[in-house]
């Protein structure tokens, strides 16, 4: 207990932690010292003077700022003395001299610390009757954030947030005295990916949410603790709604996941849930056209359609796609329906069997906070997981942690000290082999004979240093992303990068970064063609009989088709019917439309009438995640609840409930093994089907979620040989195609937030030197074609792109990059030509 000391506030003895700030110590003792500039997640500053208290010093009593004072043993403070109260009252009066009294129209009004503290500590009058200083009131800092300079009380919180967490100091305080304003540099940018956090921490209504502006008063909101499903981090947030419409999202604290921050996508992209183009009712194809029908009719048609196909062509002619954006429950019930009732193992999702992810995802997001080296391979957290990117920035900036980045582009995080290695697609394995060799050498270990000779192109100083760093690191944070885990050659890349981790002695720290909200969970609950729930292979007889006993049915033994296999089988006529839940294969690759058109029967359940849905025989309106309940498993295996925040739009129904109805109609009645009528009951069944989830329940997931033990699943890693790399380019197709995720893209849910649709710069990116060679300038359109397809897109010049390569983002409606994938998959090469106008 040596860390605990005793201090005295107003004669009351309080136990405090040694070195903690007086504000925090007082809070523990039940005294809430008012603050504006101080924030638990930001460095102390002492700018606002609201926290003045009296302290006993050697020179008598003195006023000090409690928010910057670390407590000492035996120190004596007076919070409630007349002088301290006067000082705080005077501070408030000073702050209020120029603060406008427009609380009735201020979005902060009702949850405003300045209002609350004025009520509690304010003088109740002012010595000033003069006109207040006028500044800019209606100042859009960006498309997302509105600034009111008059309301600002100069607390520096926003400025410090952008400096300390985002490391993008775009805001500053300019001018002096009563004329001080917060602003950005004239014509400067305000574009941090988590810029919305400044809204949450602003103690007044100076920075407000521009999209939800004036659409709520804080006291009338229904508040639902939930999570974000835009990426695999699973940040905790609170959904505030009113009259069953989402009004805004605010961050919720969860130190293990997102600390107290969410990114702008999670905060602002709420429009999809009340988009007017949402599907309102079931549609069925009649005389070639999709017509509105009742739910009963739609379900009957589905049952008839599926049973016909199953009877005529066998159950393996039916396939189903789930989605990594949907809950565990929905994906679990889809798998259960397909396997247990239809009798087909053809189940998958886009990020499913095709992606060679570590089945245990990431060891833990929190590891980044005490890592001594950060290794990112084929992952770009700034675009894929902005909050994690902020943690990495903080580690690099505050603790001097070095970054090793293996990525074909110079991603934002490569501005921090470390090593950036940029292998072109196809060359990754050669680089990882060189790194493996370097790490083995650093550790003084034997070099296996199959490792290629040392004289390759990667025999560089940087590679040797990177190999040495990893071998010497104690607690490295090592992740690889989806870019390196799927498509042609992915098996070799994953083997090679695992080899590196093994060679450095850190194979237990190697993790996978899932870009989608529930890519981990959908696999855990068994939506994979070759695995049973619990990530157990289909051939595992023990697991099979356990699941058969739970579902009271016989399971098919033949491994099913994956996502790509199903598309191919549909094109070749072997697959006759499909259920597609929350996926849009045609939107991603328009040429897959022909395959789906060949199906005899297609069911789509989605929020919108997607390119896939317009080809369906029956379209079911699904409720969005804010309208339905569900649990999600994030990339660090943490299960978290997303409860229902608003009621489903029109006649839409949650995905899991649709599957319950479908099962009932398919079987004639709901069998005993399907009597899971609430989300808690479905989840309870999942915990029995998935051994890793054992012991969890809907209730005990709690507000911060529960992580399943990494040790519950063994993944044996050892040094393994693999096929060599390749070079897809040749004289005909000289440019490497680089693909990747962009935060502001045109994915279904994000594009449906119409206010933000213009934020993303959707374009192909070229290095300026290539642009000169191709005689294109920014804004021109270019045509890219590979052996199999072509797309056209406007071009942006970007020197973070390596020469001889072109970057095309995913979820780019105009230019579906999937069209270009050929025998090298996405690691292909393209030829580029300018499109003449």
């Amino acid at each position: 207990m040596s860390d605990w000391i005793t201090i005295t506030i107003d004669g009351k003895e309080i136990k405090a932690k040694k070195g903690e700030l007086l504000t925090a110590a007082a809070k523990r003792g039940g005294i809430e010292i008012p603050v504006f500039c101080s924030h638990p997640k930001l460095d102390p500053l002492g700018a606002c003077r609201m926290c003045l208290v009296e302290a006993e010093t050697r020179r008598g009593k003195a006023l000090i700022t409690a928010c910057t004072t670390p407590v000492n043993d035996g120190a004596v403070y007076y919070y409630n003395s007349e002088r301290a109260r006067d000082a705080r009252q005077g501070t408030l009066e000073l702050i209020l001299i120029n603060h406008p009294l427009d609380c009735p129209i201020c979005d902060k009004g009702g949850e405003c610390p300045l209002q609350d503290q004025t009520l509690e500590h304010g003088p109740g009058h002012s010595h000033f009757w003069e006109e207040k200083t006028h500044k800019t009131k209606h100042y859009p800092l960006s498309d997302l954030i509105m600034l009111d300079q008059e309301r600002c009380i100069v607390c520096w919180r926003c400025i410090r947030y952008l400096q300390e967490w985002e490391d993008k100091p775009q805001l500053g305080l300019f001018h002096r005295g009563g004329e001080t304003v917060i602003d950005k540099f004239p014509a400067g940018k305000f574009d941090a990916a988590t810029s919305g956090s400044v809204i949450d921490i602003c103690p007044v209504g100076a920075l407000t949410n521009r999209l939800s502006r004036f659409s709520y008063r804080p006291w009338e909101l229904d508040k639902t603790d939930s999570i974000c499903t835009h990426c695999g981090q699973g940040c905790n947030l609170r959904i505030d709604s009113r009259s069953h419409r989402v009004r805004r999202n605010v961050a919720r604290e969860n130190p293990a996941v997102n600390d107290e921050w969410i990114c702008d996508k999670g905060r602002f992209a709420t429009g999809f849930s009340y988009h007017p183009e949402r599907l309102q009712q079931p549609l069925a194809r009649m005389n070639g056209k999709l017509e509105p029908v009742s739910w009963q009719e739609a379900i009957q048609q589905i049952v008839a359609g599926l049973q016909n196909v199953s009877k005529e062509h066998g159950p393996e002619a039916v396939g189903a796609l789930g989605s990594a954006k949907l809950s565990n429950e929905a994906n679990y019930l889809l798998g259960k329906f397909m396997r247990g009732m239809v009798g087909s193992n053809n189940v998958d999702y886009r990020e499913g069997s095709a992606v060679l992810a570590d089945p245990r995802g990431l060891p833990a997001l929190g590891d980044v906070h005490d890592a001594d080296l950060i290794v990112l391979m084929g992952a770009d957290p700034s675009e894929e997981m902005p909050v994690l990117a902020n943690f990495i920035k903080r580690a690099a900036k505050r603790r001097g942690v070095k970054l090793i980045i293996v990525h074909p582009r110079r991603i934002e995080l490569s501005r921090y000290p470390g090593i950036h290695l940029a292998p072109m697609p196809g060359q990754e394995v050669d680089l990882f082999d060189a790194l493996t060799r370097a790490s083995l050498q650093a550790g003084g270990e034997a070099i296996p004979g199959w490792l290629p000779a040392e004289d390759g192109a990667w025999n560089t100083e940087d590679v040797r240093a990177a190999g040495q760093w990893l071998a010497q690191a104690q607690k490295p944070f090592i992740v690889y992303g989806a870019d390196y885990a799927w498509g042609f050659g992915a098996r070799d890349i994953v083997t090679a990068l695992s080899n590196w981790a093994v060679a450095a002695g850190h194979d237990d720290r190697l993790g996978f970064l899932h870009a989608q909200a529930n890519a981990q969970g959908a696999g855990d609950v068994g939506l994979l063609p070759n695995q049973l729930p619990g990530r157990r292979p289909l051939s595992d007889d023990e697991a099979r009989s356990a699941i058969e006993a739970l579902w009271q049915t016989r399971l098919p033994r033949q491994p099913g088709l994956g996502y790509g296999g199903m598309m191919a089988a549909a094109a070749s006529g072997h697959l006759k019917a499909m259920i597609i839940m929350g996926a849009d294969p045609v939107g991603e690759k328009p040429s897959d439309a022909a395959a789906l058109d060949k199906l005899e029967f297609l069911v789509v359940q989605d929020l919108f009438l997607t390119e896939t849905a317009i080809r369906a025989d029956v379209v079911l309106p699904a409720a969005s995640y804010v309208e339905s309940e569900g649990s999600f498993t994030n990339t660090e295996r943490r299960l978290q609840r997303a409860p229902r925040a608003v009621k489903p739009m029109a006649k839409s129904v949650p995905d899991w409930a649709i599957l319950m109805h479908l099962a009932q109609a398919y079987w004639g009645e709901l069998p005993a093994s399907w009597q899971t009528l609430t989300i808690a009951a479905v989840f309870a069944e999942i915990t029995r089907a998935v051994p890793q989830y054992a012991g969890m329940s809907w209730e005990n997931m709690g507000a911060e979620g529960r992580q399943w033990q990494r040790s519950a699943l063994e993944v044996g890693r050892e040094l393994r040989s693999h096929d060599p790399g390749f070079d897809p380019t040749d004289r005909k197709y000289p440019f490497h195609l680089i693909i990747g995720n962009q935060l502001w893209d045109q994915g279904t849910t994000f594009a449906a937030t119409t206010e933000m649709a213009h934020l993303g710069v959707m374009a192909a990116r070229l290095h300026p030197s290539d642009a000169v060679r191709l005689q294109v300038t920014a804004g021109d359109r270019i045509r890219m074609h590979s052996g199999t397809g072509e797309i056209t897109a406007p071009v942006v010049l970007d020197d973070s792109i390596s020469p001889n390569s072109v970057f095309v983002p995913f979820s780019f409606l105009q230019a579906p990059v999937g069209e270009l994938f050929d025998r090298f998959g996405q690691r292909t090469a393209v030829a580029i030509s300018k499109v003449s106008n």
């Binding site: 100091p169 775009q170 300019f174 001018h175």
Partner: protein, 161 residues
């Protein structure tokens, strides 16, 4: 004091300043002062260059530049006229002088003429109340200022139309 009438700013003039202060920590204010000596004011491009070179956030550089009254962010004229509008000068007729400047040159306090010849500024008390109203033209104090004297001085010493 070198000044160019083009909108293009020769940023290479900053090289020497950076060389001088390269190894000196906390040199922001001297660099800003030298830059202002060079250009007459602090153009946005120069501020951006300073931020990049000194590895200080642009928002901080701009904050310092706006904080101190000695830094000017807008182009100033070749000649600078300061008029005192402290109590004594005000009573003795500075407002009349200001009106005549407005009438003849369409210049308000704080403004610079379009041809960049003259900037008019107001100050509050130069400590020479006995000489009220006081004008300072290019650093030279002129007391007991009258309309015609002021206008003649400006016309004689500047090329203003």
């Amino acid at each position: 004091m070198t000044q160019d009438n083009h909108n293009e700013i020769d940023l290479s003039l900053m090289d020497e300043i950076f060389t001088q202060y390269r190894h000196q920590a906390g040199a922001l204010i001297p660099v800003l002062q030298k830059a202002q000596e060079t250009y007459g004011y602090l153009p946005p491009d120069v501020l951006q260059l300073i931020a990049r070179q000194l590895k200080i956030p642009l928002s901080k550089v701009y904050g310092v530049a706006t904080f101190y009254a000695q830094f000017y962010l807008e182009r100033r004229g070749r000649h600078i006229l300061r008029l005192c509008d402290g109590t004594a000068c005000h009573v003795k007729g500075t407002p009349i002088l200001l009106t005549s400047l407005e009438d003849h040159f369409h210049l308000q306090p704080g403004e610079t003429s379009e041809d960049n010849e003259l900037t008019v500024e107001i100050v509050y008390c130069l400590g020479s109340c006995a000489l009220a109203p006081v004008a300072v033209f290019d650093g030279k104090v002129m007391g007991r200022m009258k309309q015609n004297v002021l206008l003649n001085t400006i016309k004689k010493k500047t090329d203003i139309n």
